[in-house]
Symmetry: C2
């Protein structure tokens, strides 16, 4: 696949504008004091479906021509992307097939069902996910909307950066969590398309630091067994996504789950919003690596708020 351009991201922004929420930006004096610089949180937990994933999924769904769209869409996802694709498909009135690996957070599965999609279960490995998707594609003709290694998805996720830079002009750093890398790639392309001087940072759990190791070693590492509470960041970074991170010199900042949980509580207490562990890695990184951000105005992406309230990690 070809990575999208800033123009593709701008087209995506126009395409999803009737469907997606312009999410608010929040900040806190106390967090600024702890980090030492002003931090502007882009609240994608307040996006439709409770996560940024709706941007990419709706861009993909509304990019299809009518004949293709009528056969539906399929994806594999442990949660937020599946829910986002289900919502986007519903808004266009087309079928959605979501392959959910065993062990996914139950509230995320419930949301997919509530959005009217058909759920298919599979083993929690990359190979099982891809095999199940190929099977459903073959049987239904549904269009595969990969959760991150898809130019339409990457372009959609990237739309949050022009929006953020309109809301907070003059940012000189942007920080996002890195899982499969759809958000990271889209945000990097958009940020540097608009202002090549913006510094880019990725936050990643130490127990799923494949992007950190890949960038350090200069090649994409192989499959690994993730060990982190950040359920949205357990995936191996995609190949095109890795290329985008390398090209845009994204600096990866690994954080421990303990740091993530402490940051999550701080975000809940200070901003009064519900965010996922995955989202909280960005504040954990700000607090662990303050030197990286000294003198900068930072935009940090809070990716989602779909949490099982009966199983909070503290």
């Amino acid at each position: 696949m070809m990575l999208p351009s800033l123009d593709d991201i701008r087209s995506a922004a126009a395409r999803i504008a009737p469907h997606a929420v312009v999410t608010p930006v929040m900040r806190s004096d106390r967090i600024d004091a702890l980090v030492g610089v002003p931090v502007y949180f882009k609240c994608e937990n307040l996006q439709r479906g409770g996560a940024f994933k709706f941007r990419g999924a709706s861009n993909a769904v509304w990019s299809l021509d009518d004949a293709v769209a009528s056969k539906g869409v399929v994806t594999h996802s442990s949660g937020n992307h599946g829910n986002a694709l289900a919502l986007a498909a519903k808004s266009r009135g087309i079928p959605a097939h979501i392959i959910v690996p065993d062990g996914a957070v139950q509230t995320k599965v419930d949301a997919i069902v509530a959005a009217g999609a058909t759920i298919h279960r599979c083993a929690p490995t990359q190979a099982s996910r891809e095999a199940a998707a190929a099977e459903i594609q073959a049987a239904t003709g549904a269009d595969l909307v990969h959760p991150y290694a898809d130019a339409r998805v990457i372009a959609g996720q990237g739309t949050l950066v022009p929006e953020l830079l309109r809301q907070v002009p003059g940012l000189d750093a942007v920080l996002f969590p890195v899982g499969g890398g759809g958000l990271a790639a889209g945000c990097s392309i958009a940020a540097h398309g608009i202002d090549p001087a913006i510094r880019l940072f990725g936050a990643e759990p130490s127990g799923a630091d494949d992007a950190f190791r890949s960038l350090r070693d200069g090649h994409r590492v192989g499959p690994f067994v993730p060990d982190t509470i950040s359920d949205g960041l357990r995936t191996l970074i995609g190949e095109p996504n890795f290329e985008a991170l390398r090209e845009h010199a994204v600096e990866m900042l690994p954080v421990s789950d303990a740091e993530t949980i402490a940051a999550m509580k701080l975000l809940w207490s200070e901003l009064k919003i519900v965010v996922e562990p995955s989202s909280s890695t960005v504040l954990a990184a700000l607090l662990r690596y303050p030197g990286r951000f000294a003198g900068r105005r930072v935009g940090a992406v809070l990716t989602g708020g779909n949490v099982d309230l009966d199983a909070l990690p503290w």
Copy 2:
């Protein structure tokens, strides 16, 4: 004391505008479907200090002339009002004495300390609170800013209604939790000052339904022992507050703590925001008494988000 007028509320709005946040309004398709009518939540959990109380406290603090202000302010409060007064005093650079009854939520006490106020402990009874306040007033000359039976406080709390009606024109019902009744009185005066056709509703825990019983019986009931998780609503309604509720025909809707907790989880899940039990009584009332709201567009006040994350009620 004289109850404030709509003009007083408009003056308060101008007075606090440099200090207070214009809080957002949120909604959810799923909640609207469950209630059966459109509900617009005024998010005072996103107010400074995490509660609507900052409106009244800052109106009181900035109403004082310099000579009086320099002696400081004093109040008794189990939490949000104390924190709000501490923050407002700090912004004006004057001392604040906060009398905190034993048993107050620790995170709220921590916030008062963080805001730089002097904490004084007392027994958790109305008599102890008032005696302690009188003592500090006598010793310091500090101005008493009562948490709810104070015209400046009532006017300040009322400022959220003109703000809400600008954000969502055409509401025909406003619903708020009722504790001491400062918010209820201010909102009632403001709403009927702007549009006498607006229907007013109060939500109250069954275990602290003194406003319900007072309005039913036609006179203010006496002190009672509250039994509710809604820590912000355990106070007896004030005398002028009761008169305001009666004059404005506020209909009280009691809800159980179980209903409040279920509503709290639903607000967290659907809106992705952190709200207190006290705030959640409004959604509990909407879900328990849907017939009262049929055919109306409802504004509901989410009063605060100061929760002990280590002691969630589910």
